[in-house]
């Protein structure tokens, strides 16, 4: 009975592996950005399950940080790494200038 959380964590890790393979394969860069959403849910679930399985409640804090980071990574992906657009309306992107 107490092994259920760890077994479920293994199951979720297998899910994560499969999903990661799918997401990292592309084809577009937007697909790769999905890793942020993926870790924001599956990673958090795995951490929570590990916290229960190993009796380390502090891992819940790590899960909180994971969820927070998912948002930050997603924002960094879409705002920072893609600051130019392929369409010719790049006037707004040009506003950024390195000094």
């Amino acid at each position: 009975m107490t092994d259920l959380p760890l077994a479920l964590a293994l199951f979720l890790l297998a899910n994560l592996a499969v999903a990661l393979w799918r997401v990292l394969r592309g084809p577009t860069q937007a697909d790769r950005m999905l890793v942020a959403v993926l870790f924001g849910t599956t990673g958090v679930a795995i951490l929570l399950l590990l916290a229960e399985a190993q009796g380390v409640p502090a891992l819940v804090d790590a899960a909180l940080v994971f969820a927070l980071l998912a948002a930050i990574a997603g924002a960094a992906f879409s705002v920072r790494a893609w600051r130019q657009s392929t369409r010719p309306d790049g006037a707004k992107e040009r506003a950024h200038d390195p000094d």
Binding site: L16, L20, F39, F66, A81
Partner: protein, 96 residues
Amino acid sequence: MSLSPFDLLLAVMLLLTAWRALVAPDPFRATVLFIVFGLLMALAWARLSAPDIALAEAAIGAGLTGALLLDAVGHLRAVRRQSSPPGGDKAREAAK
């Protein structure tokens, strides 16, 4: 604590992402793989019952470094895009 299937799978995933990150053809893909590696590493620390290191790895290793690297990728692209088209000389002048 003996080696469970969980640890085995996690180790394999870590090695795979590390290898893919090293051989990735373009910086964006390498950065994504780096972030994934960091998050998996945080899971590994969690599995080793080291919540504080897991927290630091996720926050600094994956989050902060990942965001900085993504920013750098964006800069590289912007620079490369400005210098590649024929009318890009003016933009390069402005950058200097």
